[in-house]
């Protein structure tokens, strides 16, 4: 028999219209709307038709974006709220680590709070007494246990709450993103405790944004998206699907941002109509310091960059790239009159507008001969060896002497994703090697190694 069984569960929260929020008993009584006001005007399904079951001794990781219904699901399993439709069955005592130290009274000592909290979570007083020392030791609170809880630091508060909840010895443990409560050492201790729970055949339901933890620690994963189950099963696969989906939505988001930027560019003042005099002032002056980065566009537009696209591995325009993938910048250009004085340039910036790399055709010894009519310029970066983060792009066409025809500063942004948590900006292609006396445990998966992302 499964330890947790969730059967076509839907949870509808009632949302009240503005009118309801200011309603008072008096107005309800006077207006005779008491009954109607107690009813809702609008409904919002936080969890929609979700079914899953967790066999006893299994660990299920629940992932999903903020507001996808994870916490509601946890509350449903904990029995704190009732499902609107469907059934939740849980076998055995449940301890929910949803809010640690909920119900601690600030004025009384940690010791008394441990007792009351333990009783609240379903222990008898003598059970708490039996486990008291273990709880205090786990929370590392020996020194302060007799001080009032209001004097505790937030970390101490959480640790004590966690210690009580985990010593209730539940058959089913529900954990809602609480591993971030303590310092590194305490987090490890918590993970060890979870591992011990697993060994002892307890069932754990873990809600977290920590995806590597789900991959490493859970037997199964459930991905919730807008209240629906989008995927269940092997954690690695579900996490992968989820990450891909997040990347997609980031892509959409960046694309929308990009479209806005382009819109802004298009509405910037056009170039002066008479293209001939070279001393014609630019409609928008170049910033006095070229290395002080502010977004914008300037230049005479005698030669114009009409479109810029970032092309990914598959030849399609993209805004999210994996580290080590290829990236091609394609710009469409149009010259009002044939010219032999032109330089194309690109610049890569971090999100903080630090220049990573800049080059142009002149630096690389391309001698301009003629540019006329419409054309396309492509810059191919074979390997985008950048660490994860957001980056921005400059593109420009200008004269050999540097005066701009059309300069697009920081108008294009893209994101680099990576499986490796390395830091900095640039990731040189690299490998590690070790002499035989230096040994590492075999990696669980080649994907989490150092090299470039898969």
């Amino acid at each position: 028999m499964p330890a947790i069984e969730v059967d076509h569960v839907t949870k509808v929260y009632r949302r009240y219209a503005r009118r309801r929020q200011f309603a008072t008993l008096k107005s309800a009584l006077l207006g005779g709307t008491l009954v109607r006001d107690l009813r809702s005007d609008e409904k919002f399904a936080a969890v929609r038709d979700v079914s899953f079951s967790v066999p006893a001794g299994c660990t299920l990781g629940v992932i999903g974006r903020n507001g996808s219904g994870k916490s509601t699901l946890l509350k449903l399993v904990a029995g704190i709220t009732k499902p609107t439709e469907g059934q939740v069955r849980v076998d055995g005592r449940v301890s929910a680590l949803i809010e640690l130290g909920a119900g601690f009274h600030p004025e009384i000592s940690g010791r008394e709070n441990v007792f009351i909290n333990g009783i609240m979570l379903g222990l008898a007083k003598r059970d708490v007494a039996k486990r008291f020392d273990a709880i205090v030791e786990f929370a590392e609170m020996q020194e302060f246990i007799d001080a009032p809880v209001k004097t505790y630091s937030s970390g101490m508060y959480m640790r004590l709450g966690f210690a009580v909840a985990i010593h209730v010895d539940p058959a089913v443990l529900l954990v809602d993103e609480v591993l971030a409560v303590g310092d590194e050492a305490f987090t490890h201790k918590c993970l060890d405790k979870f591992a011990e729970f697993r060994r002892r055949g307890k069932t754990i339901l873990l809600v977290t944004h920590n995806l590597p933890l789900v991959e490493r620690f859970c037997d199964e994963a459930l991905w919730l998206d807008a209240g629906r189950a989008r995927g269940t099963g092997d954690p690695r696969r579900v996490v992968d699907e989820y990450v891909t989906d997040v990347a997609k939505s980031e892509e959409r988001h960046l694309a929308a941002e990009d479209a806005r930027a382009r819109q802004a560019v298009a509405t910037m003042p056009a170039s002066p109509p008479e293209p001939s005099p070279p001393q014609a002032t630019a409609p928008e002056e170049a910033p006095p310091n070229m290395f002080q980065a502010t977004e914008g566009r300037w230049g005479t537009r005698e030669v114009e960059i009409t479109d810029v696209a970032l092309i990914g591995e598959n030849g399609e325009p993209a805004h999210v790239f994996r580290s080590g993938e290829r990236l091609e910048v394609r710009m469409k250009v149009r010259a009002r009159q044939p010219t032999s004085d032109f330089v194309f340039g690109v610049g890569l910036f971090t999100a903080e507008a630090v220049l990573i790399y800049g080059t142009n055709t002149r630096f690389e010894d391309y001698e301009p001969q003629e540019l006329s009519g419409e054309g396309e310029v492509r810059v191919l970066i074979d390997r985008l060896d950048l660490v994860e983060g957001s980056y921005k792009l400059d593109v420009a066409v200008h004269k050999v002497d540097g005066s701009a025809y059309d300069y697009h500063r920081l108008l294009y942004s893209f994101r680099v994703k990576s499986h490796t948590k390395d830091v900095g900006i640039y990731r040189p292609v690299h490998t590690w090697s070790f002499s035989p006396s230096v040994r590492f445990k075999p990696l669980p998966s080649p994907a989490s190694g150092t090299g470039p992302a898969r």
């Binding site: 008096k26 704190i80 709220t81 449940v94 929910a96 008394e112």
Partner: protein, 264 residues
């Protein structure tokens, strides 16, 4: 509902420790600490005695000692009054418990009423001392035996009302403010600062409609007035009504229970 009601027995350890916590926490950090449980009713008594025997002496010259008479009604009234006022807020202030822990919400108003009952019980020895001091101790055996019954009726009545008040306040926050005024009105509509006989005959029916009238009169007859406990019929009737109210209160609470986690 009855299933939930029987669950209540299982929570007695929880209720017990929460009441203890409530009492401990209330005066934690104050210099006099637990003595406030005694000092508060004494000060209250002092104020009322002062007002009604010095400022407005003509009103009550026939009841002597007036302070003692007043105390008999005032002490249980304080229990009733603070229980209801506090329980109107108890679910909202205990919101984290209801939202984040699987917690029987009815425990909260019950704990409030019980904690206030402990304060009431702690006030009784003071009342006893005054009774002895004024040699007013003419309490018969029947009266002594019915005294716990009066307390029980008041407990039932208060818990029933506290359940309703606490559950409805979650939906209508302004009950909190309304209740304060309502209780002030009820205080003057109860024979606490005056005797029931002082109310003109034509309005007596209104007093009889007020349930607390019968509690106050019972306390006064048992503790203060000479002679047999003549109000017992009313008390028994109130007992039945209070039991009914308790069930009704629990019913309302139980019906609204699922909305608490969302509305608090």
């Amino acid at each position: 509902m009855f299933q939930n009601l029987s669950q209540l027995v299982r929570y007695r350890a929880l209720i017990q420790s929460l009441v203890a916590r409530e009492l401990k926490a209330r005066y934690r950090g104050s210099i006099l600490g637990f003595f406030w449980s005694f000092i508060n009713p004494l000060l209250l008594l002092l104020i009322y005695s002062l007002v009604f025997s010095v400022v407005l002496p003509t009103a009550r010259s026939d009841v002597r000692p007036y302070g003692l008479f007043l105390f008999c009604g005032l002490l249980p009234w304080t229990w009733f009054h603070s229980s209801l006022l506090e329980s109107s807020n108890v679910l909202i202030s205990g919101g984290t418990l209801i939202k984040k822990v699987l917690f029987p919400a009815e425990v909260l108003p019950i704990v409030t009423v019980l904690a206030n009952m402990v304060h009431f019980l702690l006030g009784l020895p003071i009342l006893g001392l005054f009774l002895i001091y004024y040699r007013h101790a003419s309490i018969s055996l029947v009266e002594a035996l019915s005294f716990p019954l009066v307390i029980l009726v008041q407990l039932l009545l208060t818990v029933g009302l506290a359940l309703i008040v606490s559950a409805l306040t979650v939906h209508f926050r302004d009950i909190k403010d309304l209740l304060g005024n309502l209780l002030t009105f009820l205080f003057f509509a109860t024979p606490i600062i005056y005797r029931i006989q002082d109310m003109p005959e034509s309005y007596r029916w209104a007093l009889n409609l007020n349930p607390f009238t019968h509690l106050a009169v019972s306390y006064q007859e048992i503790l203060f007035f000479e002679g047999p406990f003549g109000h017992w019929k009313w008390l028994v009737a109130l007992f039945v009504a209070a039991a009914g109210l308790f069930l009704a209160g629990y019913f309302v609470f139980d019906r609204l229970r699922d909305s608490f986690a969302e509305e608090v």
